[in-house]
């Protein structure tokens, strides 16, 4: 993530200014604290006016977020933050609109709004806190829970096949798709920065640990012993390497990704797949690296910006069309509109 440009703006406000007078009420040890802190760290660096920032959330643990940000904010209803944010951004393009949502909020009850927002591509930032569990309702499985996971509502294990949020997003025509995690503050900060800087709908999945109902779901990607072999951090223009001492890489073999050992002398760095954020085909393949880490020969889980290709934002298209109509038909004349095309007069 070295290519992130620090903005030259003088910070008009500090992280401290983003704290509210509300007591933060997540469980002690919740991953949400880390995300809140990194958001409060990144937002002052974006060159935004604080009054132009709006955080909109749905329902769930993550959705308390707006109450802890000293910006404009709305804690709305379950699954609808994406739809509410769409209306706000379309009508007020100059605002910086952030959506805070979770795996249940965005992918279950709000799944429809989520996919339609992505295809329309308004310039908003979606922070999807994925903890693979329902926390606020105290421990039922979510649409990202893994098969077999034992939860309060699945004592014998989850039957449902999970969503793969990145693949779902790309399938919904998302223009920016990235993944990061709460326990890697540096990566989280850098990826938040990228999501915020992107013009268009940014879908940032954040692996977030629920230490009460699903503790350790993502530790394999952060613990020293397992991290190197399980996670791959993709960077624009760089080959896909991972493993202890970067000893493994991923190359294409007859159009299929394949893990290769870089220490055997058979393959070198130049044989590897080079990450290209603007390549939708590669992005789709990368998003499919979703095998369960317990499976032998599984691909490492990718983190970083998987896909980022700007296209016109929805609010721009909407307002261009309004301008076009005004230019073509002239500014609306209410009296003429009410009068219509055909009238008749009844004389005194």
């Amino acid at each position: 993530m070295e290519n992130i440009q620090e903005t030259e703006h003088i910070e008009a406000f500090t992280s401290k200014d983003l704290e509210t007078d509300q007591e933060v009420r997540w469980c002690p040890g919740c991953g949400d604290y880390s995300i809140l802190k990194q958001v409060q760290t990144v937002v002052p660096k974006l060159g935004l006016k604080r009054e132009n920032i709006v955080f909109i959330s749905g329902i769930g643990c993550s959705s308390r977020f707006p109450y802890y940000m000293e910006t404009y904010g709305m804690h709305s209803i379950h699954g609808r933050a994406t739809a509410i944010a769409s209306g706000l951004k379309i009508s007020r393009p100059e605002l910086s609109v952030w959506i805070v949502t979770g795996d249940g909020d965005a992918l279950s009850i709000g799944g429809n709004h989520f996919i339609h927002l992505l295809r329309r591509n308004p310039d908003v930032n979606i922070l999807l806190f994925n903890n693979q569990i329902y926390g606020l309702t105290k421990g039922q499985y979510s649409p990202t829970s893994v098969e077999g996971q034992v939860t309060k509502s699945s004592p014998l294990g989850v039957l449902d096949h999970p969503f793969n949020p990145l693949a779902l997003s790309l399938g919904a025509e998302a223009s920016f798709v990235a993944r990061t995690m709460d326990r890697d503050p540096k990566h989280l900060q850098a990826t938040l920065h990228r999501a915020a800087a992107f013009k268009g709908a940014s879908m940032l999945e954040i692996y977030q640990n629920c230490n009460v109902f699903n503790d350790g779901a993502f530790f394999i990607y952060t613990d020293k012993e397992t991290k190197a072999a399980s996670a791959i951090f993709v960077e624009e223009g760089k080959p896909l390497v991972f493993g202890e001492n970067q000893n493994k890489g991923i190359r294409f073999n007859n159009g299929k990704p394949e893990i290769v050992d870089l220490t055997e002398g058979k393959f070198g760095i130049s044989d590897l797949w080079v990450h290209d954020e603007q390549d939708p085909y590669k992005a789709n393949l990368l998003s499919r690296f979703y095998d369960h880490p317990s499976e032998p020969g599984h691909f490492p889980r990718p983190f970083g910006v998987i896909y980022a290709k700007e296209r016109r934002t929805y609010e721009n298209i909407v307002h261009d069309q309004l301008d076009f109509a005004k230019e073509k038909m002239g500014l609306g004349d209410l009296d003429a509109l009410i009068k219509g095309k055909q009238t008749w007069e009844i004389a005194d």
């Binding site: 509300q22 920032i53 951004k89 055909q342 008749w344």
Partner: protein, 615 residues
Amino acid sequence: MTTKERINIDDVVIRFAGDSGDGIQLIGTEFTNATALSQNDLGTFPDFPAEIRAPAGTLAGVSGYQIHFGSNEIHTPGDLCDVLVVMNAAALKKNLSNLKKPGIIIANEDGFDAKNLRLAGIADEENPIKNNSLDGYKVYIIPITKITRESLKASGLGTKEMDRSKNMFILGLICWMYQRPLAPSIEETKRRFAKNPAVLEANLKVLNAGFNYGETAEIIEEKFKVAPAKMKPGVYRGITGNAATALGLVAASVKSGLPLFYGSYPITPASDILHELAKQKNFGVITFQAEDEIAAISSAIGASYGGSLGVTASSGPGIDLKSEAMGLAVMLELPLVIINVQRAGPSTGMPTKTEQADLLLSFYGRHGEAPMPILAANSPTDCFDTIYEAARLAVEFMTPVTFLSDGYIANGAEPWRFPQTADLKGFKINLATSKDISDNKYYPYMRDERLVRTWALPGTPGLENRIGGIEKEDITGNISYDPKNHEKMVHIRAQKIANIADFIPLQALDSGPEKGKVLILGWGSTYGTIKTACQELKKEGIEVSHAHLKYMNPMPKNLGEILSSFDKVLIPEMNMGQLLMLIRAKFMIPAIGYSKVRGLPFSTHDIVDKVKEIL
């Protein structure tokens, strides 16, 4: 040439009926325009099937359009028709019971062939235009399809394309019978087929053929004259309820200076509002066709949060889906207009048929105590005034407002003495400013003496604040689970809506004495029928009074006083007695209900008979 003079008549009801692919709605609308330009008062009733194209020739596929016009005041599309125009056997079978006896039948002979009879479920030997079953009516049988093909012989069009113009023959013929100008139809046809000269020419040719057939064929024995109506002087246009609703919203946007954001999902019979508004982009109107009903209202709430006039619209099933978000709007205390063009339910019910069965839904169809103002339009043109007023109340009182219309007035049309922009009421907008900051803070739930909070638009420095659906502490808006605070907030939200009664007009009687034996209390689209019934009763020497509610919640402050001035209060509704229940509960009077739930409006004689029954 017909030499007879035109017969003067005061009013007439004509019903066009044919296959839903026959263009019946189109000629109905065109004839309405021509009638409006002839300065008659009028009311219309489009009666179409739910299916876009049900199997041709079947009863299910019959589409109807009824127009009532005259030289006197017209408040309804009429009960039974004087003239029934039918394109095929199914249309006759389905509509004959709507025709007065003796009435006029104009039938397309080609629609009564063996195939059409079979599709209509009529045995060959029972062909109504060949046996004597239509005795007592004046029947004109015209081979309309044949004549249409004949007149287009040289056009180069295929048979199918030629046949599509046959509705224009009817339009031309009826325009001749009732002395309507062809010019507006010619103009509209030119507009419609601007890109297809061959079809344009065909349509105009057949239109003229119909007119000339009346003039020269000497088949139609009577022609009529309906003198211009003695209407209030002024400039008029014709308009449907849905179009008037759309214009009212644009007017509210222009007058308030608030950009209009219309979040909607297509649904019968509300979609025409979306179509109308989508044309008004040069007014800065944003129409957002959302992925579903929930997104439609949610996006409107988002836009309203940002300072737009947020509006959403739907009908029955869609309104159900919106209810959670309506509750959010109640809690957020943001302006929002929710349009419900009611249709027959429950569930999918009868989408193209009318009903008034969502009144209690509007009052109580949300969990928790979630009151909001409710206004109901009483005629197509009243949709303009009522939606404008709904928008004004929403903005001035920082609340969602439900606007009720229904399929009957949404699709019905009438002449409109339209207002001038300058005469429309202004909007007072409660925008929060830096003046609302105290102790360095902005309190989103601080209220004025009416209990109304201020509207803090994102982008305003110093007013950063959080609002949400969780119960909030009075004044600060912080999350609160305190029992006393919750009770206080429930009362505040209720009182705020109740207070609106101080700012709306007192209830007036539409007609009749201030006290007496019977008051008919109506609401919504039954207005014209009740009014006409009162006029009929008066002619018979029976005097009743009529009051019609527009402000359903809160109700006008003097309503109780009016109700108590009558021995009996009759409440006719197209539901099972919803206003009846509210009135009985609120005023504890033994009001009498009169229900009709057939997906059709009341007829005048329904009301007349009911009044006589209870007298």
